[in-house]
Structure formats: C-alpha cells, structure tokens
C-alpha cells in the first residue's frame, strides 16, 4: 500500500515535467492608470481611472512539432467603464503543418500590411476598440484557414463563419464620442447578421528588396458606420451599421538601405458604391545619432479615403513622426506621431514610450491629444478626452 503512495508524487512530478519541453505558459498582467487632461463632457464620466488586465497564453506542440494548440484568453477589469471590463478569446486554435501547407481551425489573429499610421488592408480581425484608439488591439476571429507555401509565394484562404462586433466605450467610459454607441442593437445589411460567412484570399511574396501582398475580402465590413438614433426615453445613441463589403487590396514595401517605402491600396464596394483608399509613405532611419547607440526613425505617410467621414477620419491626412530606439539593455523606445487633417488642419498626436525594468517588468507611457480640431470633425467630440496613461506590466 505504501508503494503507490510514494510513487504518486514522483508520477505527478513526471506528468508536470514531461510536457514542459513542448508546452508553455507565457503572457503578461498589468496595471494601467489613465488621467484625462480636461473635465469630462458628461457628468457620469470620470477624471481618472485604473484598470487591470491579464493576457496569458498557453500553447502545446505534439506530433514532432507538426501540431499545435494555442489558448490565449484576455481579460480587463476597468474601474469605471462596464464596456471596457471585458473578456475575450484572442486565440484558441489548432494548427497542423504539412510539408508545404498549413491548416488552422479556431479563433486566430492575423495581421496584413506594412504602413504605420493606418492599417488599411488589415481586415481579418475586428478591433477591440475599448482597449485603445490605435485599433491595434484585436478580437479573436473564428475561422478555418489554409496556407499553401510555394516557390511563388504564400497563398492563404480564410473562411469566417461568425462575425465579431466592434467594442465601444460605455456610459462612464473615456475617451468616447458624445453619444454612447448602442452595441446591443447593431444593424446588419445582411439578413444572416453575425452568421454571415465571410471569406478572404491572400497571396504574399518577396522579390529581392520588395515585399508584396495581394488580397481580396468578401463579407461584413469590420468598420461600422455610426448612425445617430433619437429616442423619446433618453439621449440619442449611435447605432453601429455593419455593411457588406467587397475589398481588393495590395500592400507593398521596398526596403532600400535605410529607406523603407510603403504603400497600402484598397478599392471595393460598400453600399453599392465603389470606394478607393490608400496610405503610403516612407520610414527613414538615422543610425547612431550624435555618436550614440540611439537610432532615430523618421516617418512620413499620406492617407486618402473617398468614403464619407462617418466611416473613416482618414480622408485626406498626413502623418508625421519619429521613433527613437535607444538600443540599451532596457530596450527603451519612444514614438511620437502627429496626424494632420489637410482640409481642417485638425491634429491628433500620439506619444508612446516603453522601458524594461529588471528582467520581467515593463513600464509604458502613452499620451494622446487632439488640437486645432474643427467642430463637426469625426474626432471633434474627443477633444476633451486628451489623456496620459501609465502601464506597469509583469511578463512571465
């Protein structure tokens, strides 16, 4: 009787240690503090707030590394905003690799594109907009995807049977526009609503100094039109309208020494109207400025979009910025970008900085402010919501 008892801890240890070579838990948890530089537009909103997030990621490989399961949930608890307190499955998929193909089933995140100031061709995932205005936080997209790897490039097919709605700040949340977005009553062009099956196809390759991607997407647009709706019982709300969209896009980067030339172009049909949008420009890096190890990257991009201002604020805009990489042991970085509306001269400025502390901690700072904004601009409602955000995160 005593033998199995003594064996049990050994077996337990064996079970715990054995998968360690092929499985791993990583991720980060952090505390975020936001302070707004102006009093809120509405009295239910707040001057400052705290929030906590957790982004663990678990994966395991088997079948000689040919199969992988990824499980990456995300959760945030916000002091004030019920909409910002949310959980999501960023990734939860199974993938099998073949000699020159790859099949994946589940919720995934996919990034397409090359430019910095706007991610025009990046269309697979819905934006988790309560996380950040920069649209770089994404919700996991349910899909079946197949990638073929050939000498002439990669060809990828995506079948997406379920649509994810964009998240928006709630009643007490900031930054947000004057009226609350009613995420409970979205309007879909397609009768299938969230069950419309979207598909996409992408070819990507590199030829010498050029990286190129060609893609087509057909399905529910990720960017909703926000339509005001007046009600007798309370203040007006914004209803998200999700149109059907057919979009063909190209993304191109030429890497010529310290110069990066970038272009994203998209054209398609939305509400029976053809549209064209583009973003392109340069990034030039000055290495080791002032005889130091610091690199300065200069960014200049132009944005064009002939859709209405209720769809996008990037109709005729210039983005100028600089990125400092300190190349120190703490990986310190600082980015400053200003977007300027060519017509109205309105400006939207972002400062982002980060630095590692010790081996596993990271501190970051983010400042966003709007200046010179004209009344009636899509961003005008955000002019009181300039903020400074500090995040301290522990990685594991």
């Amino acid at each position: 009787m005593s033998m199995p008892c003594r064996l049990r801890p050994v077996l337990l240890l064996y079970v715990m240690v054995w998968p360690a070579t092929a499985a791993e838990l990583t991720g980060d948890i952090g505390l975020e503090a936001r302070g707004f530089l102006h009093p809120p537009m509405q009295s239910v909103q707040h001057e400052a707030g705290l929030s906590l997030y957790a982004a663990p990621e678990f994966y395991t490989d088997w079948d000689d590394g040919r199969q992988r399961l990824v499980f990456a949930p995300f959760g945030r608890l916000d002091q004030h905003d019920d909409e910002r307190s949310h959980i999501d499955l960023r990734e939860f998929y199974w993938r099998k690799s073949f000699a020159s193909a790859e099949l994946a089933v589940g919720l995934r995140k996919v990034f397409w594109g090359v430019t910095e100031s706007r991610h025009l061709v990046d269309i697979i995932n819905q934006t988790d907009f309560v996380e950040n205005l920069d649209t770089e936080d994404k919700l996991g997209q349910p899909m079946v995807s197949l990638r073929l790897v050939r000498d002439w490039g990669n060809l990828e097919f995506f079948l997406m049977p379920y649509f994810r709605e964009r998240t928006f700040a709630g009643q007490e949340g900031r930054p947000r526009v004057r009226f609350v977005v009613d995420t409970d009553n979205p309007v879909y062009e397609s009768g299938a609503e969230t069950r419309h099956v979207d598909w996409a196809l992408r070819w990507s390759h590199y030829i010498g100094d050029f990286d190129i991607g060609l893609a087509h997407f057909s399905g529910t647009a990720r960017d909703p039109r926000l339509v005001p709706q007046f009600s007798s019982s309370g203040p007006p709300v914004l209803i998200p309208h999700y149109d059907q969209l057919d979009q063909t896009s190209i993304d191109l980067q030429a890497t010529k020494g310290a110069w990066l030339w970038k272009l994203e172009l998209a054209t398609g049909e939305q509400l029976n109207k053809r549209f064209t949008a583009a973003v392109g420009g340069i990034e030039y890096t000055l290495y080791g400025i002032f005889d130091s190890a610091v690199d300065l990257g200069l960014i200049g991009e132009y944005q064009f979009d002939d859709r209405g201002s209720n769809v996008t604020p990037f109709q005729d805009d210039i983005a100028l910025g600089g990125r400092l990489a300190f190349n120190d042991t703490q990986s310190s970085e600082l980015l400053l970008v200003t977007g300027i509306d060519v017509d109205t001269r309105g400006r939207f400025t972002t400062i982002e900085g980060s630095r590692r502390f010790g081996q596993n901690w990271k501190g970051s700072i983010e400042v966003r402010f709007i200046s010179n904004i004209a009344v009636g601009d899509l961003l005008a409602d955000l002019r009181d919501d300039d903020y400074l955000e500090l995040t301290f995160a522990r990685y594991f």
Binding site: S100, V149, N154, A258, L260, G288, N327, T329, S331
Partner: protein
C-alpha cells in the same frame, strides 16, 4: 622519344619545381596571403549543412552589473550565397517569441524580417545598420552576421607564437562603407584555422573592442565551433559574454525552415 626519359624529366621537374613553388608562395603579397588564410578557414567550414543551438548572452556594465538574455539560433548553409539564419528570443519575457530571420548575401545588404508576436506582424526591416548594437550588447550586427569572405579585404601581418601555439595574424578591412570599423586584426591558429581573437578599430582608428573566442569543440569530426565568446569594449568598459549549448548539426533543415512562415511559428 622513349616514354621513360619523359617520366624521368617530369619527375626531375617536380623535384626542382616544388621548392620553387613554395618559394613563390612565400613571395606572394601580404594581401594574397591574407586572402589565402581567410579562404582556407572558410573552406574548412564548407559542408556543415545546418546547425541549431541555444545562446546565452550576459551583458555587463562597467560596474560589473549583469543582465542575461537567452535565445535559440538556427543556421542553414547556402552554397552560392551567404547563409540563412534565424534567432528566436526567449528571455526577457516581454520579447519572448520575437524572431529575426536573416538571408545574408556575399555582396550588398542582407535581407531581414522581424516577427512581432503581440501584433502577429512580420516586418521587413532594414539591414543597413551594420554598426548598431545587437540587443543592447557590445556585439554589433556586423560582428554576428555570417562572415563571408567577400565582406572583407585582407592582409597578412605576421606569424606569432603564444603559449606554444602558432598563429597567423592577419588584418581585414570591411568592404561595406557602413561598417563601424576601419580594420580588424585577427589571430587564427595555424593548425586548425580557427579564429581566437579579434581587435576592432573604429572609424577614428582607435582600438574599440577585443573579441576572444575559446572553448572550441569539434563536431562531426570536421567543424570547430567556439562555445564561448567575450567582447570587451575598451572605450566604455562594458562587456558581453556569449555561451552556446545544445549545439546540434544535421537537423535536416530546408529552406522551408527559414521562411516568413517558420518565423511566425518558431518559438
């Protein structure tokens, strides 16, 4: 017209010409001899196929404070061009899963892609930053990139015997104008053509850094690899140590293991 005298003649010629040939070798210019030594060192590494290893990096500032970095590294030999390599960062935790893919070229800039796991983004990056520090260390990108013969011009300086070991001491001059160095002095042992020490001289001709490579191990009875390197910066007092472990050859890697897809799956 008898074949016998001909053979005898040939034999005699051989006997007389051999010392002449070696005398001619002794009279080659220092530049030619430097190139010959570098070519021989390079030729001895031909056929390694592919490698995989774990790399630990210790960065030390002038006060002796240390931080440690860990990464995995893979390389694939490419016969008619520079090699392909992938570095996957493991530690510190905030850069875990970040991976760097390099196609080095004998001439011109290398091709480089960086994978950023948080955004799932593969970014083509400029490789023209030769002299910049790698991961905040004392190693510049050009110190760690594939050391193709064509990347330098050479000059033999002298033979030197240290602790009973005979070395060739050669000088090499980077061809790339973006290099941070005017010249490097390299100590190569005469028995196995392994690099043991490099002195780096910056653009102002002052002695910037010294690299010492030791703990050489022999793999597959043919290929020598140093399992330890230390780079000391004489101007800042900082140093970086690199240690390799789990070195394996002949992993059966193909080009598919060094493309933009494998970059995203690497960790």
């Amino acid at each position: 017209m008898h074949p016998f005298p001909l053979t005898l003649k040939a034999l005699l010629a051989l006997v007389f010409l051999l010392p002449l040939a070696s005398a001619a070798w002794a009279q080659v210019s220092p530049e030619e001899k430097g190139l010959q030594i570098a070519s021989e060192a390079d030729a001895r590494d031909h056929g390694f196929g592919d490698t995989s290893s774990v790399l630990t990096m210790i960065l030390r500032n002038r006060h002796g404070q240390e931080v440690t970095r860990q990464m995995r590294s893979r390389a694939l030999e490419v016969t008619d061009d520079g090699d392909k390599s992938m570095i996957i960062f493991e530690d510190p935790a905030d850069v875990k899963g970040t991976a760097l893919l390099t196609y080095s070229h004998k001439e011109g800039d290398d091709d480089q892609w960086l994978y950023l796991p948080a955004l799932k983004r593969v970014k083509r990056i400029s490789s023209s930053n030769k002299s910049g520090p790698f991961m905040g260390s004392e190693f510049a990108y050009e110190d760690l990139s594939s050391q193709e013969i064509e990347k330098y011009q050479y000059k033999f300086l002298r033979n030197e015997t240290i602790d009973g070991i005979d070395y060739f001491v050669i000088e090499r001059y980077p061809v790339d104008k973006k290099s941070g160095y005017t010249r490097q002095v390299v100590w190569i042992d005469q028995a196995e053509y392994r690099v043991h020490k490099v002195d780096y001289f910056d653009r102002k001709e002052s002695h910037l850094k010294t690299l010492v490579m030791d703990n050489y191990q022999l793999y597959l009875d043919k290929f020598w690899r140093p399992l330890h390197m230390e780079m000391v910066n004489h101007q800042t007092g900082k140093s970086t140590e690199l240690s390799w472990s789990e070195y394996t050859f002949q992993n059966g890697y193909t080009d598919r293991d060094f493309d933009r897809n494998s970059l995203q799956k690497a960790r």
